[in-house]
Point group: D2
Chain length 308, copies 4
């Protein structure tokens, strides 16, 4: 199970558990780490956008990395996106020193032209060091930076240390096909592609060429099963499983409120103690919570993993 261009399966985007008073919840971090691995994930990604990274003090970020890396038996990737390269570099170096497998870098929102985007990643790679394996995050909906397939390919070609694409463009199925076609045509070296967007298109992404998923949906065990079904060529069974989860996946994939749903589900499943977020955070209204619980009850008819 290595973190490289041949990585496959599911990388769990980890939430960061807090207690209701806002302090880091170390026991829940341990349980969450174990839970992801018991679910069969091939990797973990911490301190990403859904990990409330900007709400942590620098010392807290390091504590989370140390704890997760120390406990995990699968590669741990650390999100190091930052408004400046100084913070990005120091977090990346610290993470690697503590045993992280690599880092994840997203473009800074102000970028517009292809040249600006390409140059930004050149500077980012220089900042973190060319020896640090990294994941390129392509997430236009939140980051407002749109990367064409050719720009993604250029960045991959420019930087041998880029080993993976976290693909969450929307719509994005054609982009996966384009990148894979470039590789078939010998225009692009191999790279791992794991998909995000909460899993919203994971019923088609593997057939388009994705190696799996990197997302934080509250049922990573189902994501693993789904990717395995596709690997085994069991298309209809995969869709049956996916369709049972889609109402909840869709509900969780709402901007802003999504993290609250995710934490609620993880709490309902007994993994984390509290669904608290640090400010500014979204909160589920009583009605929304009841809606999620209703979706869980409906899911339980098809999937015994759903808590009732």
């Amino acid at each position: 199970m290595s973190f490289g261009t041949d990585a496959k399966g599911v990388y769990a985007i980890a939430t960061t558990p807090f207690l209701p008073d806002g302090t880091l919840d170390a026991p829940s971090i341990d349980r969450l780490t174990d839970f992801y691995q018991d679910s069969g994930v091939t990797g973990m990604t911490i301190l990403g956008i859904m990990g409330e990274a900007p709400k942590l003090e620098p010392a807290e970020s390091r504590a989370v990395i140390r704890q997760v890396v120390g406990r995990s038996r699968v590669p741990v990737v650390v999100g190091v996106s930052a408004p400046g390269f100084a913070a990005m570099r120091s977090l990346a170096r610290d993470a690697m020193d503590m045993g992280a497998a690599g880092v994840m870098i997203a473009p800074t929102p102000a970028l517009r032209t292809d040249e600006q985007i390409v140059q930004y990643f050149a500077q980012a790679v220089e900042a973190v060091g060319t020896d640090v394996p990294w994941v390129l995050q392509d997430y236009p909906l939140t980051l407002t930076v749109v990367m064409s397939a050719s720009v993604v390919a250029k960045i991959i070609s420019d930087h041998p240390s880029c080993v993976m694409l976290k693909h969450e463009d929307w719509p994005g199925l054609e982009k996966i096909s384009k990148l894979r076609a470039m590789q078939k045509a010998g225009e692009l070296r191999p790279i791992s592609i794991l998909c995000g967007n909460g899993g919203m298109f994971l019923d088609f992404e593997p057939e388009r060429g994705a190696d799996g998923a990197m997302t934080g949906y509250g049922f990573p065990d189902m994501l693993v099963e789904l990717v395995n079904l596709f690997a085994a060529g069991k298309r209809d069974e995969a869709h049956d499983l996916f369709d049972a989860h889609l109402p909840l996946i869709r509900y969780e994939q709402q901007l802003g409120v999504g993290l609250a749903v995710r934490k609620h589900v993880l709490m309902r499943r007994g993994v984390i103690t509290s669904d608290a977020q640090r400010k500014p955070g979204s909160v589920l209204s009583a009605t929304a919570r009841a809606e999620v619980d209703y979706l869980l009850r409906r899911l339980a008819r098809h999937d015994p993993r759903a808590p009732v």
Copy 2:
């Protein structure tokens, strides 16, 4: 069946059918109008964002209005959003003269502050005339204008001619609840709320207080059935129906490519002759078309309306 603050049910967002050479397809417009009504819709909305309105010459827009209004037995709402008030006014007046029930107005993308938004709609209402009933379109994902519930309420309060909210904020369930709570508290007059976003949350919107849907999903007959199930208090049956359609609803709700999916489904259902779009238009790749057809086959197991 009137177009007013008590409007309920489903208003179909109509696509505009073209032949492969780009000319308007009048026979398909007739069939589409009939199809929507046979589906049980309570209204139709033409020349909206998904109606390729900006690709029509002024004379063509008028021709489409005349044809649909002349054939429809339900109220027809005409989208009149435009970069300037002159075009908005002339299209609105022409539409009303031809027998339209009202118009739909979206905010222009440059608006930012609450004041700017409120003022824009004041000028728009002055432009189209205070006697023209209109629908307020709230669609931040595409229009980049974010309206808080209080701004929506202010616009409604300022303009008695505003009879309906086309709600497609995302996430948006709480916004419906807030507006309905304002009405219960006597702070806001009654208004019809119909939901868009391709129906992605129509399994919860009616319980939040929505009066129905205004969207263009390729199965308006299913939307009508769904809204009726909720009206009859049959929650579980409603969810069963919704869940069967969700994989396709989700696929169709992709920005850009969605219209191609929608037209493909309407063509597969025999309603329109061609799925052609005028430029710039999205095109389904062979793989994407096969994916949609696969979803239709899966849907057919639950819903005989799906073409196989």
Copy 3:
């Protein structure tokens, strides 16, 4: 005096004169046309962003074109940017039929990647016809579309009918230098570059390689004199003239309020009857008007053209 890749001098961005009641002011359009030509401009551009084009009905746009083209002895360029290609095509064809020298096209605000921008102009050229000479407008501050020098070069290379760049990137001096360097290196064919941004950098743009200005500052006669001074190698005199006008140029270059300043100055100079704008329009407060008049009095000490 031809409109082609060798165009030089000053193209006046014309305002559209209205009477206080909002009707088009035909006598002022004639006076304005004469004024620009008496000022020594080599061309005129009508129905641009500062020409309130979206506030005109289609028939009014045609009337303005007919009147200006009929009276002008210099080439007239018509802005045809529109939310859809149908309106763009019909306005372009009508304008050319009436004797316009060419059209101006700006990118639509939603464009992000290099590929999207390049493709948009390919579709626009197909829409207006490959026989219509056109000006590429590069104005990121208002349009939010950022075009790198290489994208501008690609568009120019793709379309022989593109004869001119209206350069108003900000900052933009290096972009002019880059494009001219590409031409020196034989990588780009000749093209005329006229600069906008209200003239804010016209004290350096000619030395960077610009052929002149395309802007609507209230003193086109000064812009002509300035470009001539640079052509004659009189650098210091050019800067002296520019510096005397800069306080007013800067005041006029404010987004939104700028057009009100411009119309006020043209009215003060006796060219147009009223400084009225159609809604939504900016209005000068009494204080702002007094500030502009103070700047005009200060300018009059250096330039007798300033009205006192």
Copy 4:
């Protein structure tokens, strides 16, 4: 000379001096601190947008604060804007512990509605502590957050610890007038207003009601003189001084390249050793440097402070 709602004069936005190898240049920081005070400024603002704050490691930020606060005889304000409240709080508390007079907070770029903006500042004030005096930064051009006068007034009213507005809306003269009118009408408590935007409108802002400037133009001594001339009622002399500097002010006010101009001027004036920026940084081309030097030579004819 206190930092409170009665603050007047010029607060210098300090650049952060680096050596060509990217290390902090402590001797230049001392010289710069002295230079600002010898120029007559009434305050200093460090670690703002033009202070390259995101490029500093947390420890470096603290070192800069300690050094400047230790040396300055005028109040020092520290920019603490950050993507998360944790970093904002810790930097603010550290800064106050080291003797800073207060902090400056800008809205985070994602904010859109009035409610979101008001709520953000409520959370920010809670984060830094209600005992920390702070400056509200209103800078839409770079931050993309547009605050109406009524929103600014609401924030000021909600938070007694807000003592100053850094006004750099563009255009913005009417906003100053509106806020001052609200105060005259008793609707808003007193607050200091200092203007930014590089000083581009400092020839009118004092008459509109501004208390002075908070900007980093390379001639803070001239800014001080200008504000004093206005305070003494010497309007024409103030404009004469301003107009002599406007060509350079305008050149420096270019987004991105502006900081390079500013550092070049400070280096030319002998204040800092190097004009180096940390990556990503703008660099003056040889042509641009020659243009700035030409402007300095022209300025020297009117103002002996300009280096030749």
